[in-house]
Subunit: 342 residues, 2 copies
């Protein structure tokens, strides 16, 4: 199995991506194709003292780089020779089994759709990170790819999220909760009410495990394995989660720094503190799969360090090894609605 | 000044509401009209040993009670003789200066609009609680009254939130942030992009202090004094905030209970822990004003205890004493859009 890595994508690239690839090759036996500016990559490989894994790493030159300030469509227009565009074309052509990029999210979305294509029948691809919860983690789908969604998009996200969670998190029959402003079936916008009805029908047919509407306050306690919402709401939820988390960690630090006593207190609970921080750490989780694309694409966090890149490569290997995409293809008839009569 | 209190509204009513009214009369010199089942209220007053403040408390009988499971419209239909309906009619008729209710939120919204009426020109009333942040607190508007909003509603919320925050929080020229899925002007739904343009125009005219789009992760750090969004998004944000907060507090408790060492550590930082918990405590804040109604209405938290009811009464007194509603009336021309040509 070969993982294509956008070596230029991310705040700390290519240093972090190259080091991550070396770690993945060494610790996971991964075969990685590093796509990007060849001379830069080779210099980083040299610094990373990677001679023991040379046979597992391949470098493919791509002269251009997509920045965070480039438009999403640059990947198919001005920057067709960027590491991301070259890598995605290679994935589309079968020259690798999965792709990892920590670059511009919009460009990853557009490039994946254009060069790798969506699964036939899937209307939109969705970004689906794992967020930490009291029960170990839930999949948030969509977290930002689609600002506005139709009931059909959301129904498809429910199925795709469910297949992904089951295979990657090894939990059978995962629960799906529709994020809403109340538990009652009548809550939310017309789109959400229609989605509720579709999910209920799929649940009654035994195809998914829909547990009804869930509220923002239930998410952190792991009320559902799959938290289903449009990309706008998912983005607000994810970032609020991050923000409140960072705020709390900051307040705790301040609390522990106040006096000699509290510094001593911090030492006493140090291991618990570390464990707690780790729960909130995206570096352990890797990245977010772009579900709905016909081959595995993982969007790593922009600020990924080598360890996070390695986690994302492991996640890509597991994704490529699972049969998630096949499950989606086999069940596509249940996820598509008849076009409405005009 | 007289505050009308829906004595039957809330999980712990009428015990908590009566005790809260006694505290408010005793500590704040408040005059309170308790509306609800007279015999129940009198029994609670008796238990509360309130003889020192008898002259400040008045009881008005209302035989019916709206429960949490009643529909929002019951306040104007089946339950016209409920404590909430009677209290709101009294407010509309000028028999009190403000109203506090910890009851059914939907019924408070519907009843306020029907019996007290919106300010002329205001399209929708909005619920606007203060949420705790690193900078002391921000006003979240709307947090659930209006699932879907037009740009005009949001523009009006921005003005109303701004006037309220300035007067009640004593901070001049409060900043307004539009909650969005990115900082760029082009982000979000068409409604949000149109709202952005309206806010920018109002800012350039020197009428409000609009600081642009803000993201979920910025909220906890106090990026804006007013966090502006539709009621659906506000509800998700508020409940996620609460959920993550409760989760953290729970994790901290677990951490401190692990061993004798960590219990000792907890003792060492006890005062900081209390301070931290207090920051997150809605009981200190009181309730959420229903902005846009022609008289002050405060929605208290359903689980308010006596202390929280007292805080909500204080908040109602301050609201009635301010000139927030007059400011809205005086500036209504800047908040209303010309009807679009069809």
């Amino acid at each position: 199995m070969k993982i294509i890595l956008d070596a230029m994508g991310g705040d700390n690239a290519p240093q972090s991506t190259v080091e991550g690839a070396v770690l993945a090759a060494r610790e996971l036996g991964a075969e990685v194709i590093l796509v990007g500016r060849e001379s830069d990559i080779l210099a980083c490989l040299d610094r990373a003292q990677s001679s023991d894994v040379t046979d597992k790493l391949e470098v493919v030159n791509a002269p251009d780089v997509i920045d965070m300030c480039d438009s999403a469509t640059s990947v198919t227009k001005e920057k067709k020779d960027s590491s991301l565009a070259v890598g995605l074309r290679m994935l589309g052509e079968g020259k690798g089994d999965a792709l990892v990029s920590g670059g511009n999210t919009g460009a990853v979305l557009v490039g994946s759709t254009m060069y790798v294509k969506r699964i036939r029948g899937i209307r939109r691809a969705a970004l689906a990170p794992i967020i930490p919860t009291g029960k170990g983690g839930s999949l948030l789908i969509d977290c930002g790819a689609n600002v506005e969604c139709t009931p059909e998009y959301l129904l498809q996200f429910a199925y795709m999220g469910s297949y992904y969670f089951e295979k990657q998190m090894h939990r059978a029959d995962p629960t799906i909760g529709l994020l809403n402003n109340g538990a009652e079936e009548s809550k939310g916008t017309p789109v959400l009410r229609e989605t509720y009805a579709l999910l209920k029908k799929a649940h009654e047919a035994g195809r998914i495990n829909f547990v009804g509407n869930i509220e923002g306050r239930d998410v952190a306690f792991g009320a559902a394995d799959i938290v289903l919402c449009d990309g706008f709401t998912g983005n607000v939820l994810l970032k609020t989660y991050e923000g409140v988390g960072m705020y709390f960690v900051g307040e705790m630090k301040k609390m522990f720094k106040k006096s000699a006593f509290s510094k001593l207190a911090a030492l006493m609970v140090k291991s618990s503190l570390m464990e707690f921080k780790q729960k909130l750490d995206y570096k352990e989780v890797g990245g977010a799969p772009l579900l709905g694309i016909s081959k595995p694409v993982i969007k790593a966090h922009g600020s990924s360090d080598a360890h996070a890149v390695k986690s994302a490569i492991r996640q890509a290997m597991e994704y490529a090894d699972s049969h998630i995409i096949e499950s989606i293809v086999e069940n596509i008839e249940h996820m598509t609605l008849e076009p409405k009569a005009q």
